[in-house]
Symmetry: C2
Subunit: 487 residues, 2 copies
Amino acid sequence: MTKNGWSGVLPGLDRESIVPLYRQLYEHLREAILTGTLPESTRLPPERALSERLGVNRSTVVHAYRDLVNAGLIEQRVGSGSRVAPRVRLASDKGSGLPWWVTLPPWRVGEFPMVMGELAAKREPGRISFVQGISPDEPSPLGELAKSFSRVAKDPRFVLSYGDSEGYEPLREAIAQRARRAGAGRVDASNVVILTGSTQGIVVVAQSLAEPGDEIVVESPSYPGALQIFQMCGLRAIPIPTDEDGMRVDHVEAILRTRRPRFIYTMPSLHNPTNATMNMDRRERLVTLAKRAGVPIIEDDPYGPLLSPSLPPLVSLAPDHVVYLSTFSKTIAPSLRVGWLIAPRAVTERLLLRKQALDMATSLYVQAAICDYLDRGFDDHVVRLRAELVERRRIAQEAISKHWPAGFRVSKGEGGFYLWATTPREIRARALLDASERLGASFLFGEAFFATSGGDHHLRLALTAVRRSELPEGIRRIGQAARSLHT
Amino acid sequence: MTKNGWSGVLPGLDRESIVPLYRQLYEHLREAILTGTLPESTRLPPERALSERLGVNRSTVVHAYRDLVNAGLIEQRVGSGSRVAPRVRLASDKGSGLPWWVTLPPWRVGEFPMVMGELAAKREPGRISFVQGISPDEPSPLGELAKSFSRVAKDPRFVLSYGDSEGYEPLREAIAQRARRAGAGRVDASNVVILTGSTQGIVVVAQSLAEPGDEIVVESPSYPGALQIFQMCGLRAIPIPTDEDGMRVDHVEAILRTRRPRFIYTMPSLHNPTNATMNMDRRERLVTLAKRAGVPIIEDDPYGPLLSPSLPPLVSLAPDHVVYLSTFSKTIAPSLRVGWLIAPRAVTERLLLRKQALDMATSLYVQAAICDYLDRGFDDHVVRLRAELVERRRIAQEAISKHWPAGFRVSKGEGGFYLWATTPREIRARALLDASERLGASFLFGEAFFATSGGDHHLRLALTAVRRSELPEGIRRIGQAARSLHT
């Protein structure tokens, strides 16, 4: 159809990818147009013809073409089909040829799985959204926290200064002290670096302890934010299955017999999304394995402080083999954007320099306020929050027994933010989401939580994201949606 | 001296690097020891012998050996010299061989120029430190700012939520409105992404608009934080000289004739460190050149809002060819860690996804407080701040005329945070710093501001980092130090 023929232009679509097919097709055609592989006025294949050729639904092509029209890259006219728009309309500036962004490094399809949609999820009036992993509205830390904020807000030492890149010393001391109380005997402030949320710690680790192309071990499923970062850094994830007691450590052992991953990334307590907690036996075996193989463990522990009864974090079992990450986002408030890492002293300088290059230092004002709050309302708040999480799960379980059809399986585990469910074979999670949204409830479907493939029969409900009183109704709506798919 | 012989072990020291030679030597020997190239008990060459072999001062070797002793990697005994420490003391865990961090990806000497020492600079009692690029203590924004903080601190919408990754909509609106007021007619909120400080914007740009190995254009001298990020991202900097009217655009033109850098990084207003402001003629020529070549400009503008009389930012001359970065760190307070970027819509999604992967979202609480403050005290504060900067420079100039020996040259330019000085030929900036610190004054010496080499006769004084009343005395001490080096 062009002088190049279509064969070289037609994309190889990745059906395993969590990037929707229409988006893959769009990206591919967009690049072909912008780089001139498809010159202006080229006629694109009719939608039906292209969909047959690619072996996809016609709606996939329709959606891709629609987005190309919206981007001004193609034009559609009734009767004459779709054509590449004239060059002049593509150029941003008449003086030059193409806009400069056409020649940017290729933006690999799938590089960004668009999973962070969690943050971008639309709030629609009346919809009960179990999407965001935020703290419940009650109990609220705001009373005491606002007092801590106002105690530090007038102090120029805290507001008119960058502070140190490693963080506010008294806060690092307080964190080290709490780590020692949890059993990490040798940890002191010199092992602690304050971060702008624990997400930043994942970036720091991925960029400091591995190089593009290196293999790492992750859980399957795992936290999408981490998977996205590892992908961006060019790391290749070896997924390890999990069950109700957390990561299958026997699988890790098998992997370590023949491969040498750079690190093992795990969330052993109140896992996101499964809510599983690794039992004590596995914790000890994982640490022993990691020591023997000389492979460090990255322990991501945003929810650990909410675990009750508590289990010793991995870092307390082997402080020299674990880089520990946590945050105040789940125990106090996500808007603080303050987390921390605990690492063996031999690597803290390396990690610190990377953190420093990312954003110089974390807000000293917020750090100082948190430090103040730790001595005031924090511990009481965490006790109340734990009780709330247990109660919400009880309510959710009750509503599920009442409203969901047979065939669903639901993750166990006390407390925690998330409920992870497996749909019956005949219901795909994406279809359930569509049906649920029509009935006024939403959640995250499972694909985003898997490094390679899987998740099309899983869904995650953040039980904390809705009002407690809305929990039963939200769950009822999802159950109703499931029933509607049965018929 | 070992079975390998020393020749393969002796490092090639880089005399142009801003990494001190002793540190290069230390890093090199450390790696040789940890990887086993220098096995346990290997005797190291005597300090004098090694210094002659390498053609460095003996103190260079003494310092490197001292740090190796401190790190537990070598042992020194009077009479028998220096030996690699026994393996058992190197291992963190008796069960395994070496600690895991020994096998980490190599930490390239020079990767981190240690320049961020600005943040780590020790505050010694009695020392007048012109080091940190922070706002002056007076005028203080704290009165009104604290009120804005407390207005939002009790609102769960701002504290108990992540908000959107692109930032708080009303703040993005306010920023777009101010950009339009500065002449950027087509900018609206959809072009604005909120950042955790403008440093994060440099990371986002370096990782999104270029690939490792790509060339970019930077000013010489330039902001060390940016140079560090570019180096970390594997970008190769082409330095362009600057003068009192900013970047030498004629040199950019010459470069663009034969090379295709990914972007041009410039700080056109109140430049860090030179305080130069690019004149209008050069602004227009730079934009024309960049358009013609299809190379985008990264306009880093932390100080632009303090420029008086103001000049149009580059982004207002060519919104489609400029990614603009700025921050509230200099106009309000560094502890806020809130900056922003303005970019053509064709690249905002790409930049946003990278920002999101770095830290999810910038603190919504702080964003909301800033948004409140913008409508209250901000504009008045900036007016007072500008006047203070002008006054501080007048005081500094006066003290310099009075106290510094002939032969120093000092940068011009009204307002701004920094005074950039060139020492007389016979005085190196490092030596001046040593002498000044003994007399109780400190500053940053110039090497950190140059991508490749240069700066050994330059110093930067942050006129904002000290009390106004201390300015003359601090400058007098540096003058006294300079005189002491003359004799």
